[in-house]
């Protein structure tokens, strides 16, 4: 059976990370998914709001931590404050238990370390039944 197309929001201020994540998601998901990108937390919150208003919510949000304008923790909190239940997976190179805990407290469902890879994304997609 064909897998359903999913909508993913990738939030990262570094272009190089977005380019790598885009290719890894294409490889992990088969290439048919919709990938939107946001370069900071504030843009991400707006994209999620717009998606909800358009009745086309995201299936997954991949959220970086350290970004200008608004960081990943604050963006995650604001998305949850909107009542959005979309899985949010924190993606950061700071993988200390305190960093993970801070993201989970903010409302993230899971945490994975940078850089994103095809394998890591495959695990995430399977965990949230997006395969």
């Amino acid at each position: 059976m064909a897998r359903k197309m999913i909508r993913v929001l990738l939030v990262d201020d570094e272009e190089i990370n977005r380019v790598v994540a885009r290719a890894a998601l294409k490889a992990a998901g088969g290439g048919g998914d919709v990938l939107d990108e946001a370069e900071n937390g504030a843009v991400a919150v707006q994209r999620v709001r717009d998606a909800v208003a358009a009745a086309a919510p995201y299936d997954l949000v991949l959220m970086d931590k350290q970004m200008p304008v608004m960081d990943g923790h604050e963006a995650t909190r604001r998305i949850r404050d909107m009542g959005v239940t979309t899985p949010i997976v924190a993606v950061s190179s700071d993988g200390l238990p305190a960093d993970v805990e801070a993201f989970i407290t903010a409302g993230a469902d899971d945490f994975t370390s940078k850089p994103l890879s095809k394998e890591k994304l495959g695990i995430i997609l399977a965990k949230f039944r997006l395969t």
Partner: protein, 149 residues
């Protein structure tokens, strides 16, 4: 030079980059993504982004460390950024140096930061030279056979 000889040269170069610890399995992952995804030029795009980012960040850090009062939080943020870019391209040696660099930022040690900056700059220049040679070899190989990436 024949295409086969160029390919041997490229293989030897990549092998030495791995054995010297300049790049790690993430770089292999990028090569796999390029091959599997049928996206010629993907590795070149990521390498170019990394080199441009790293060059800019190293210059920003050098400027910050020249100030009479150093803003170590800002230096740390740039080093964090460089560490992220390095991890994305698989620049293992630069990434490890950044990890040590961050400790000097946390200790607010100007001397330590200056030493770490010199090391990271050397590591980066060494890697950039190898990346440039790699990209040139790939271009030469492709010129022999445009279907070969």
């Amino acid at each position: 030079m024949a295409a086969a000889a160029l390919r041997d040269q490229l293989t030897a170069l990549l092998s030495s980059m791995f054995s010297q610890g300049l790049v790690d399995e993430q770089f292999q992952q990028l090569q796999m993504l390029q091959d599997e995804g049928g996206t010629p030029g993907f590795v070149s795009e990521v390498v170019t982004l990394f080199c441009d980012d790293a060059d800019r960040i190293i210059n920003e850090i050098a400027t910050l460390l020249e100030q009479p009062v150093v803003n170590f939080d800002k230096v740390d943020a740039y080093v964090h950024q460089l560490k992220g870019s390095s991890a994305s391209v698989g620049a293992q040696k630069v990434k490890f140096t950044c990890m040590q660099f961050r400790q000097f930022c946390q200790d607010k040690s100007r001397d330590g930061c200056l030493m770490a900056l010199a090391v990271v700059r050397n590591d980066f220049y060494d890697l950039r030279n190898k990346f440039q040679t790699m990209l040139q070899l790939e271009q030469q190989i492709q010129a022999y056979d445009p279907k070969q990436q």
